[in-house]
C-alpha cells in the first residue's frame, strides 16, 4: 500500500479491532470521521519506516481519555490538525510525518486522515502493534524516544504543553489533564527522528491491519475457511506465530472496575471436551489465557478473539455467557522481547503474578 484512503478505512477498523485484543473501544465514530475526511480531501501517502530519511521529524498522534465521553462528545474536524499545528508552533519544529501510537482500535484511523489534511505522509507502523492501556508500554519510549514535549488539545482548541521526566509520569499527567479538559484530548507526542522510528516502531501495521480486516470479512465470516489465510498472513509478518488456542463458549464472565480499570475473568468451555476450560484475564484488553490452569498465552503476546459464527472481533465489554468464540494466540514482535520491554509489559506489570513465557515456547497440542 502506497496510500491510505477512504476505501481502506472499514478494513483497517476491522483489522484494528482484531489487533486491539479486546480493548481499544468502539471504532465506529473514528471510522466515520476518517472516511468523511479522506473522502473529501483524498488519500494520505503511506510510507514504510525503512523508507524514512534518518533526519525526518516524526510525531505520534492519537486520542487519550475515557471512551464513554466520546459517546456524547463527538470528534471535531480540526482538533487533530490543530494539535499538530500547535506542536509545531510551541516547539518550533516542522513535522514531516505522523505515526499512530496504537494500531489496535480507533486510534489507528487518526494519523491517516490528519496526514492527508496536513499534506504529509503517514508512517505505516505504530508503537504497540496491538492495544495496551498505558504510555510506558509503547515501543517508542522503550527504544529511547522521549514522550515529551507533548501537546494535548481539547475540542475547544485549548492546549497544554506537557514536559515530563519519563513515560510513567507522562502517563499519569496526561490522564489527569484529559479528565480536567472534558474527558478526551488529542495528544501529539513522542517526537522522533526517522532513524529512531526505524529502531522503535513496529513496522507495516497499518497496511497489515487493512489486509487483515479485508480477510476477516471474506468467506461469509466462516472462521474455518478464513483460518489458512489468516495463519499465512501472520506467519509471514513480524508477529510470526499464530495458534488457535481454544474454541468454545463463554460459561462465565465477571467484571468490575478497580482503580479506573476494567478487570474481568472469562471462562470458556471447549466444544470438543466439556471438561476442558479456558480462563482469560481481562484488564481493558485480554491479557492472560490459560487452559485448565496452565498459561497458554500472556501479554505482551496477543490474545485475539473472534465470534465463531461471524468472524467478528469481540470487544471485551461485549463478552457474555453463551457466546461461541475462537481464541487465537499471536506472538508479539521482537520489539517486546527484550528484558526492558518486558519489564513494563509482562503480566506482572499489570499486577498478575505470572511469568511471561513466549508463546512459541509453550508446548501446545
Amino acid at each position: 500500500m502506497k496510500t491510505i484512503g477512504a476505501e481502506h478505512i472499514k478494513d483497517l477498523c476491522t483489522g484494528a479491532a482484531f489487533l486491539a485484543t479486546g480493548g481499544g473501544g468502539d471504532p465506529y465514530v473514528s471510522q466515520l470521521l476518517a472516511e468523511r475526511i479522506l473522502h473529501q480531501i483524498g488519500p494520505a501517502q503511506l510510507i514504510s519506516p525503512e523508507d524514512l530519511p534518518d533526519d525526518t521529524f516524526v510525531v505520534s498522534i492519537g486520542m487519550v481519555g475515557a471512551p464513554t465521553v466520546t459517546l456524547e462528545q463527538l470528534p471535531t474536524v480540526d482538533e487533530a490538525i490543530g494539535a499538530l499545528n500547535r506542536y509545531e508552533a510551541v516547539t518550533g519544529k516542522q513535522i514531516d510525518a505522523v505515526i499512530p501510537f496504537e494500531v489496535g482500535g480507533g486510534n489507528s484511523t487518526i494519523p491517516p486522515f490528519v496526514a492527508a489534511m496536513k499534506g504529509i505522509p503517514c508512517v505505516d507502523g505504530d508503537g504497540m502493534g496491538r492495544a495496551l492501556p498505558e504510555a510506558q508500554m509503547m515501543t517508542f519510549p522503550i527504544y529511547g524516544a522521549k514522550p515529551t514535549p507533548a501537546v494535548i488539545m481539547d475540542a475547544f482548541g485549548s492546549s497544554e504543553l506537557l514536559e515530563c521526566a519519563d513515560a510513567i509520569s507522562f502517563e499519569k499527567e496526561i490522564r489527569a489533564k484529559a479528565v480536567a479538559m472534558g474527558g478526551m484530548v488529542t495528544s501529539v507526542e513522542h517526537g522522533m527522528t526517522g532513524a529512531l522510528v526505524k529502531r522503535s516502531a513496529i513496522p507495516h501495521t497499518l497496511s497489515f491491519a487493512t489486509r487483515l480486516g479485508a480477510l476477516l470479512r471474506q468467506h461469509d465470516g466462516n472462521i474455518d475457511a478464513i483460518e489458512p489465510e489468516l495463519f499465512a498472513l501472520f506467519n509471514a509478518s513480524d508477529y510470526g506465530v499464530i495458534k488457535r488456542l481454544f474454541t468454545g463458549k463463554v460459561i462465565d464472565s465477571r467484571r468490575k472496575i478497580v482503580g479506573g480499570y476494567d478487570i474481568g475473568t472469562a471462562t470458556l468451555q471447549s466444544f470438543d471436551d466439556s471438561n476442558r476450560r479456558m480462563e482469560i484475564l481481562i484488564k481493558n484488553e485480554y491479557l492472560v489465557a490459560s487452559i485448565d490452569g496452565r498459561t497458554v498465552a500472556s501479554v505482551p503476546d496477543l490474545i485475539c478473539i473472534l465470534e465463531q459464527e461471524t468472524a467478528r472481533p469481540l470487544n471485551a465489554e461485549r463478552m457474555r455467557y453463551g457466546q461461541r468464540l475462537a481464541v487465537f494466540g499471536i506472538g508479539c514482535t521482537h520489539h517486546y522481547r527484550t528484558a526492558q520491554a518486558l519489564s513494563v509489559t509482562q503480566p506482572r506489570a499489570f499486577g498478575f503474578d505470572i511469568d511471561y513465557i513466549p508463546i512459541e515456547e509453550i508446548d501446545f497440542p
Binding site: 462528545q73 463527538l74 455467557y321
Partner: protein, 514 residues
C-alpha cells in the same frame, strides 16, 4: 374489561379480557386498510364476547405501521435537526451515516450550533443564540415543520434541548418537535438518529391516532386507548403523536409479555417457533431483557431500547436435507400447507419429521410412514439440538431454565430439551401478542452519568427513583402500584472518582380512567 389488538405484518390478533381472564380471542389476516382491520377485530371480540361497548374500559393497540413506514421510506415527513454540540462534533454532522435514500426522504436539513454539556455537568458552551436564530430562519424558509433537537449529554441535562425547542415553538407554532433526551439514551449520534426518525413520523402518527379514534367511536367505544411501546409499557393516545418511534419493536415485546402472562412465569426464556424462524427472548422480572447493542431501523443506527432477540432459521417449514443431518435455514414458509409431504406436497419439511416421529398428527400421516427411520431420528435429534443451542446462547448462565414455547412451530418439540428445566406450552399462545398488549403496564425511566464523589450512592439512587416514579405517574400509572423494575449500573473506566452510568426504570398498573 379491556381489548388488546396486535396489528402485525401478517396477522391482526384481538383479545377481550376481564382482568386476567381471556373471554374471547380472534385472529385475522392484516388488511391493507389498518383502520378497517381494527374495526373488524373490535366487532369480532365484542360480538363474540357478548359485551356492551360501554363495558370496555380501555383498548390497547400494538402496531407495526411506524416501523414499516421507516423500512419502506413511505409517509415520512421532511425533517430538520438542530444539534447543540459545537465546538465538539463538527467531524460527525447529523445524518452523515444515514443511507442516502432515507436521508433524502427527510431532506438533509442538518444544523449544528454551539451548546451542550460535558460529562461533569459543565456546559460545552452556552447556546449560541445567533446561530440558533439563523438555523430557525432557514427552517422557516424551507417550510419544514418536523424538527428534531439534540444536545451533548442531554440525558443528564436537558436544559439546552428545552431551550431550543421553546425557541422553535415561538417562531414555528405548529412545529412537530422531538427532543432527543425524550427518545433515546447516552450516545448522541444514535439518540439523535432516533429523534429524527421520531420527528419524521409525527404527521403519520397524527393520522394513525385519528384513524384509531374514529374506529373506536364508530363502534361506540368512548374509553381511552393506548399504544404499546418497545419496553412493554403503554403510552396514551396523546403521546403517540409525539413518540411514534417508541413503538418500533412492540411486536416481539408484546409476544414476550403475553407469554409471561399466559404462563404466570416472570423469569423464563420464550421460544417462539414460526414457519421459517425461531425467536428466543428472555423474560426477566416479567419484562423482556433488552439488547445492549445498537439496533438499525431501516438502515439507521439507533439506540432504542429493544428486546434482545436471537433468531435462527428453524421453523415448521424448514427444509430437511442430507438424510436428516441438515435442517433449514431454507423454508417453504407460508407454502407449508401446500408443499409439505403430509399436506400432499413433495418437500420434506420439519413438520413432516414431527409427524413421522409420532409427536403430532396433522395432514395425512400415511404420507410420511415410508421415510427412512434413521433419517427421521437424525432430523429429530438435530432439531432439538438447534433449539438447545439457541436457548443456551440466550440464558444468563449454564443452569437449566424454564422455557415457554409459543407459535405454530411448537409442534417440533417432542423430546426433552437439555437446557430447559421445564417446558411450558400455554393455552392461547397463538394470540400472545394481543394479550401482551391488553395487559401492558405504564412505566417511567431515568438515565444519568453520575459521580458518587459528590453525593452518596444511596442518595443518587433515591433521587433518580423519585424522578422515574414521577415520570410514570405523568404517563398514567397508578402511584400505589409502582415498583422498581430495574437498576442498571455501569462503571465508567478511565475516569476519576467512582463515575457510573445509572438507569432506573419503574412500572405500575394503568390508572383507571375517572
Amino acid at each position: 374489561m379491556r381489548i388488546g389488538i396486535d396489528v402485525g405484518g401478517t396477522h391482526t390478533d384481538a383479545v377481550l379480557m376481564n382482568g386476567m381472564e381471556i373471554i374471547c380471542a380472534h385472529k385475522a389476516l392484516t388488511s391493507s386498510d389498518v383502520r378497517q382491520g381494527i374495526i373488524e377485530a373490535l366487532d369480532q371480540v365484542i360480538t363474540e364476547g357478548r359485551v356492551d361497548a360501554t363495558a370496555i374500559e380501555a383498548v390497547m393497540i400494538g402496531t407495526t405501521q411506524f416501523t414499516n413506514a421507516v423500512i419502506e421510506r413511505k409517509q415520512l415527513s421532511p425533517t430538520a435537526i438542530i444539534r447543540a454540540c459545537l465546538p465538539t462534533g463538527s467531524g460527525i454532522p447529523p445524518l452523515c451515516d444515514w443511507p442516502t435514500d432515507i436521508a433524502s426522504a427527510l431532506g438533509n436539513h442538518g444544523y449544528m450550533i454551539r451548546g451542550g454539556y460535558m460529562f461533569d455537568g459543565r456546559q460545552i458552551s452556552p447556546i449560541d443564540e445567533t446561530s440558533l436564530d439563523e438555523a430557525i430562519t432557514d427552517i422557516v424558509h424551507s417550510g419544514v415543520k418536523s424538527i428534531a433537537v439534540s444536545a451533548a449529554f442531554s440525558p443528564a441535562n436537558n436544559a439546552h434541548e428545552l431551550k431550543i425547542a421553546s425557541r422553535l415553538r415561538q417562531r414555528i407554532p405548529d412545529a412537530n418537535i422531538s427532543m432527543s433526551h425524550e427518545i433515546g439514551r447516552l450516545g448522541i449520534l444514535e439518540r439523535e438518529n432516533a429523534a429524527l426518525l421520531n420527528a419524521s413520523l409525527g404527521e403519520l402518527a397524527r393520522k394513525v391516532v385519528s384513524n384509531m379514534e374514529t374506529a373506536l367511536a364508530e363502534r361506540g367505544l368512548r374509553c381511552p386507548f393506548y399504544v404499546s411501546q418497545n419496553d412493554g409499557t403503554l403510552m396514551s393516545a396523546q403521546f403517540i403523536a409525539r413518540y411514534p418511534a417508541l413503538t418500533f419493536s412492540s411486536g416481539p415485546t408484546n409476544s414476550l409479555r403475553g407469554a409471561a402472562l399466559l404462563s404466570g412465569m416472570q423469569d423464563a426464556l420464550v421460544v417462539d417457533i414460526g414457519g421459517t424462524t425461531l425467536d428466543v427472548g428472555v423474560l426477566a422480572n416479567g419484562f423482556p431483557r433488552e439488547s445492549n447493542s445498537h439496533i438499525k431501523v431501516g438502515g439507521v443506527r439507533t439506540n432504542f431500547r429493544m428486546p434482545d432477540i436471537l433468531s435462527i432459521g428453524l421453523g415448521g417449514g424448514s427444509l430437511i436435507a442430507d438424510e436428516g443431518a441438515s435442517v433449514g435455514p431454507k423454508s417453504v414458509g407460508h407454502r407449508l400447507v401446500e408443499e409439505a409431504l403430509v399436506f400432499g406436497g413433495s418437500t420434506l419439511t420439519a413438520t413432516d419429521i414431527a409427524v413421522a416421529n409420532g409427536s403430532v398428527s396433522v395432514g395425512q400421516p400415511s404420507r410420511v410412514q415410508t421415510l427412512d427411520r434413521a433419517a427421521v431420528e437424525r432430523a429429530t435429534h438435530r432439531i432439538h439440538r438447534m433449539i438447545d443451542e439457541a436457548i443456551d446462547k440466550m440464558r444468563p448462565n449454564d443452569a437449566p431454565v424454564p422455557v415457554i414455547l409459543v407459535g405454530g412451530g411448537a409442534i417440533l418439540v417432542s423430546r426433552e430439551l437439555e437446557t430447559a428445566s421445564r417446558v411450558i406450552v400455554p393455552d392461547h399462545a397463538d394470540v400472545a401478542n394481543a394479550i401482551g398488549a391488553a395487559m401492558a403496564q405504564v412505566g417511567g425511566e431515568v438515565e444519568q452519568l453520575v459521580s458518587f464523589s459528590r453525593h452518596s450512592r444511596d442518595r443518587v439512587l433515591a433521587d433518580m427513583t423519585r424522578e422515574a416514579q414521577a415520570k410514570a405517574v405523568a404517563a398514567g400509572a397508578e402511584g400505589k402500584t409502582l415498583r422498581v423494575l430495574d437498576i442498571e449500573e455501569t462503571s465508567v473506566s478511565y475516569m476519576d472518582g467512582d463515575a457510573a452510568r445509572i438507569r432506573i426504570k419503574v412500572v405500575g398498573d394503568l390508572r383507571h380512567s375517572p
